[in-house]
Symmetry: C2
Subunit: 319 residues, 2 copies
DNA sequence: CTGTTAGCGCCTTCAA
DNA sequence: TTGAAGGCGCTAACAG
């Protein structure tokens, strides 16, 4: 019973005598043996591990995507190595490159990386898939949410309610999804000459939203679109402290529909983004690449408007 | 310029002529070369990767611990491989064993695994550290929250407010932290003969809490301690729909102090558990083990009572 | 200080 | 059907 026989049995290579195979199995059970994944990886050139590079493990969106990727990959026998860049954009490409070397592929979530940097990085990462952003001229598959159409729908909802002066609390100016929101806003504004949307730099956290409450309350806007739900919740909190009633005096909307959005007071009108599905779809495309198959078309989930209690028609005095 | 020279230079082994080293560095830069982590791992017997086994990536507690572990480990040049068991307890040990083979160690978060199973598993996982549970008779370091004292403090708060009939919405009956809560409750009840705490099986999710609202409202309890904040928030929501005012008619308390607990309506009284720190401390101990040093003493964080608006003295009619 | 040799643990031709 | 040999890419011990 030689090394290669054992190897053959462990890998289910049929060409081994049943009796011998049986003995090998017994022995390996008795010795609690199983092949070293490390050595196998070295010789096979596959680790069955993929890296997931993300900006911040504390962000609900990335948490959801991670979960989607992890679960989907696990079903196919793959594990995921996490690389949290801690919001440090300059570290992203280094980390991605570094973790890529330990894995078979990478799933990249880098909303703030510059287009150029990304374009030169991607070829070195292959196979790779992108979450929530696409880069023209590269072949990396994409699974993303269509932030542009999401905000269009949200803004149209506000316009339909009668709002004409709306504030947009912007996130990171260099983030892809922020730009897409801006594009959507511009689109709606072009179609509605009487609509004025004022952009205010804000941020992406609860604290950022809370801090923006005063400025928002002082403006003449009748509705606010926060960059995301976190910001909207902070705003709701700050507005509450300032005595501003929502939605009576001011309508507030979020973005993402994170798990808690429906339990704020009032329940937050927002746009839902299917983050877990984003992760799953990213995995599906990566798997195709890993299997040498052609990945499915890029997929863009259209966010769905969730009208809840935080938006209403503007007061008569404002209308 | 031979293989070993290159190896020496890449590893900063000083015994190489400066000029030669320079040339090696140049060449490796030009060729964009860096040693294969895989091959290094095989020969060094170290992967600089640790597995983090957890029941559910959607649970805020585990998310926080994962973040703590990931960030702390990254600072020491280690990466983390995630193994989400999807709440399937029977898969936990298999997954732990499997991922352990690809890594240098494992951080185990398995609140529902049986004591026996855990005891026989740990030796095969070494080096390993435990999060949020300890097992007598094993040498695995522990970083945990002291759930017992946390609930004691919470219950004492309610007692101090004048409550004498309290409902405890229990989580998984087989989870370690649930047992610890029960122990704490018993302790307080023993010291307060006039206090009655009724345990009601519930669960650990928002939906579970929401579903328990009717039963809770129908009982004669004046206060409720939910298993965790998620349950408390669900309860708050259900109670709101049923027209029960909190805290006027009923006091509600959570556990964990997840990020959104302070923004519920009313703000949730709860007990804060430092989840990120849990992860960090777990890593510190694991690192000691990996470095062949003696890990620091087991650490138990004492949850801190966060009194907010969801608890108050019972109404006169109840007092 | 540098090159050669052996081997980490496995899989895969190639002969037998 | 089975065993022997080579090599995956690297590091470490050994000479030179």
């Amino acid at each position: 019973m030689s090394l290669s026989t054992v190897s053959r049995v462990m890998n289910g290579n049929g060409t081994v005598d049943t009796d011998l195979a049986e003995r090998v199995l017994e022995a390996s059970k008795a010795l609690n043996y199983s092949a070293s994944p490390l050595a196998r990886s070295l010789v096979l050139g596959k680790t069955f591990t993929v890296a997931f590079v993300l900006p911040d493990l504390a962000n609900p969106t990335f948490q959801g995507a991670l979960r989607g990727v992890s679960r989907a990959a696990a079903k196919d026998g793959y594990r995921v190595l996490i690389a949290d860049t801690g919001e440090v954009v300059s570290e992203e490409s280094i980390l991605a490159l570094e973790t890529r070397r330990r894995c078979d592929a990478v799933i990249l979530c880098a909303p703030r990386m510059s287009e150029e940097r990304l374009r030169e990085l991607l070829p070195q990462l292959e196979p790779a898939v992108l979450i929530n952003r696409d880069v023209l001229g590269t072949s990396a598959p994409v699974a993303a949410a269509d932030y542009r159409s999401g905000i269009v729908e949200l803004l149209m909802h506000l316009v339909g309610l009668g709002h004409r002066r709306v504030t947009f609390l912007a996130g990171a100016h260099n983030s892809a999804s922020n730009r897409h929101r801006q594009l959507g806003i511009e689109e709606v504004v072009r179609a509605h000459p009487d609509l004025v949307v004022t952009e205010v730099a804000c941020g992406v956290t609860f604290a950022d939203g809370h801090g923006a409450a005063a400025a928002v309350a002082a403006s003449d806007a009748t509705a606010v679109m926060a960059f995301n739900d976190l910001v909207a919740m902070g705003l709701l909190s700050g507005l509450g402290e300032a005595g501003v009633r929502v939605p009576e005096q001011l309508s507030v909307a979020g973005f993402d529909d994170i798990p808690f959005a429906q339990y704020t007071t009032p329940p937050l009108t927002t746009v839902s983004v299917p983050v877990t599905e984003l992760g799953e779809q990213a995995w599906l495309r990566l798997r195709a690449l890993l299997d040498g198959e052609a990945p499915d078309h890029n997929v863009y989930f259209r966010p769905r408007l969730e009208v809840r209690g935080s938006t209403a028609a503007p007061q008569a005095v404002d209308a």
